[in-house]
């Protein structure tokens, strides 16, 4: 019981801090100066340095999922539908949720440990002492970089997975490469693609804010950085899972584009 109450207390504290940080970010977001260069540097750090793992994941999932679905459907003479199922699963989960889990670990942990060590070495106070807002200079560029680069990485992952899937379709299922891609690209409606893109932006927001929040709350010493990083990743995962549940439910209940897609 005490264990549960402590969890609840931690949860409430986190959400309070999460919304305070969001409020602080929005209150400073439109004030000058704007640190574009720092945002681009962060985009490079987060994006370019995540390309290898994103590519590896995309190739692997493209290969594995196509084989699983394709060989199963082939028994029923429905292997032509592999491309449709593949692209739906890519936009619905694989390249919008699973890849974001990986990025939460890769990018989120980096943000928490960097912000945490800056906090410990009084660099945040040093910014303030020099009359510079640390939120504007450190936090906002990271959040904006995440909001831009994570959806781009998800799109890159989808494209790589799709190309690998088409190649595997040709290799194992004797499906025409061009026909596979054409069927795949005809399948999702614009709303469904936008929904997938929107989802990744929401998840990117969760990762950025959660990681910054835990970094900013490091106080006691360097041992806390590891714990904060772990918490940031776990909480980001939980938010992504809950967010996926709510957003997908909302989409199929109220927007309907996806239902039509699946039925087609």
């Amino acid at each position: 019981m005490i264990f549960f109450i402590n969890y609840l207390k931690d949860g409430l504290k986190f959400f309070k801090g999460f919304f305070s940080l969001v409020t602080l970010i929005f209150s400073e977001l439109f004030k000058r100066p704007f640190y574009y260069q720092l945002m681009i540097k962060n985009m490079y750090d987060f994006g370019y340095r995540s390309l290898f793992i994103v590519t590896a994941f995309a190739v692997s999932t493209g290969y594995v999922v196509t084989l699983h679905i394709g060989l199963s459907l082939e028994k029923y003479g429905a292997k032509l539908y592999v491309s449709k199922i593949m692209i739906i699963s890519l936009f619905a989960e694989i390249s919008t949720v699973l890849i974001v889990f990986i990025l939460a670990g890769k990018i989120g942990s980096g943000i928490t440990s960097e912000v945490g060590s800056m906090k410990l070495t009084e660099q945040f106070d040093a910014f303030k002492a020099l009359g510079i807002s640390p939120v504007k200079r450190v936090i906002i560029p990271k959040v904006l970089a995440c909001l831009i680069i994570i959806p781009i990485l998800c799109i890159i992952s989808s494209m790589i997975s799709l190309l690998v899937s088409a190649y595997i379709g040709k290799l194992y299922l004797q499906l025409d490469y061009i026909d596979f891609l054409a069927r795949a690209l005809r399948t999702p409606k614009l709303g469904f693609v936008i929904f997938g893109f929107f989802k990744t932006m929401v998840f990117a927001f969760f990762i950025a804010i959660t990681s910054c929040y835990y970094g900013l709350n490091v106080e006691k010493g360097s041992y806390e950085i590891g714990r904060a990083t772990m918490r940031a990743i776990v909480v980001s995962f939980m938010l992504i899972i809950c967010g996926d549940f709510v957003l997908t439910g909302f989409y199929y209940s109220f927007i309907h584009f996806g239902v039509e897609n699946v039925r087609n």
Binding site: T121, E122, Q123, K128, A129, L130, G131, I132
Partner: protein, 255 residues
């Protein structure tokens, strides 16, 4: 010649949770003056400095910098105060992702419209002033402790502040680096910079200060010129130097 009151602290209280750390402090610092705060670790000296530039809010009381109450200011108004009052952190607090040049140039790129060439010249001049030539391209991790502190103070000086708050600048420095730093601080004092120095180093305090305030158990137990303090409060100082707990308080000694 000391000027008018630049910093004035009135009925100042700070508590951490239920523990009252600083109790009803009131004092002032005149323009061009150097006031040293001397006291045991944990007595609240650093807290006091942090409150002066608004990095921490006091529980109660007022802090006036050039007649304006810092306690009532929001972050935006505090920016103006922080350009006038610089804070030299105990460990330098250099930005480890930036080179020495970038650390020093930062206040100028943020708060002035100076061209890159002018900034470069200013940084070079400041580095020469602090005997740090040739360190422009180094990162803080490549500097010694003494150099980090000097870079930290040099960074504070970039905006030519009226007041500089030194937080234990000579702690963990060898005698050579301490002497160098003291020389630098005296040079700044000669230029007319007002300062508040927090230190445990009596010799540094005696060399630099115009006045010394002895803090014990959250209160100022004595304040005066180095000569007065040395003469009138010799027992307290000796006890402090001997490492007797509560040595800066007559009440404690009498027990």
């Amino acid at each position: 010649m000391l000027g008018t009151n630049l910093i004035e602290i009135k009925n100042f209280h700070v508590s951490y949770g239920k523990k009252l750390v600083l109790k009803n402090l009131s004092f002032h610092v005149k323009a061009k003056e150097c006031l040293t705060l001397l006291g045991e670790s944990g007595v609240g000296k650093t807290t006091l400095l942090r409150c002066i530039i608004g990095l921490k809010r006091p529980t109660n009381g007022e802090i006036f910098v050039e007649g304006e109450n810092v306690v009532e200011m929001d972050e935006e108004k505090l920016l103006a105060v922080r350009k006038k009052v610089a804070y030299a952190f105990q460990n330098g607090a250099l930005f480890d992702s930036m080179t020495v040049f970038e650390n020093l140039a930062l206040p100028l790129t943020e708060h002035t419209q100076l061209s890159f060439q002018t900034i470069k010249k200013r940084v070079k001049k400041e580095l020469e002033e602090f005997d740090l030539q040739g360190t422009e391209k180094l990162y803080p991790s490549e500097l010694s402790g003494g150099m980090k502190k000097r870079v930290g103070i040099a960074r504070c000086m970039m905006l030519k502040p009226k007041v500089i708050l030194y937080d234990e600048p000579t702690v963990s420095l060898d005698p050579y680096n301490t002497a160098n730093l003291v020389k630098t601080m005296l040079k700044l004092k000669k230029k007319g910079t007002t300062s508040i120095l927090v230190t445990h180093n009596m010799s540094v305090a005696m060399q630099i200060s115009d006045r010394i305030a002895l803090l014990s158990e959250g209160k100022i137990v004595a304040i005066g010129t180095p000569e007065t303090i040395e003469k009138d409060y010799n027992v307290l100082l000796k006890n402090f130097m001997k490492g007797i707990k509560g040595g800066l308080s007559y009440e404690k000694i009498s027990h």
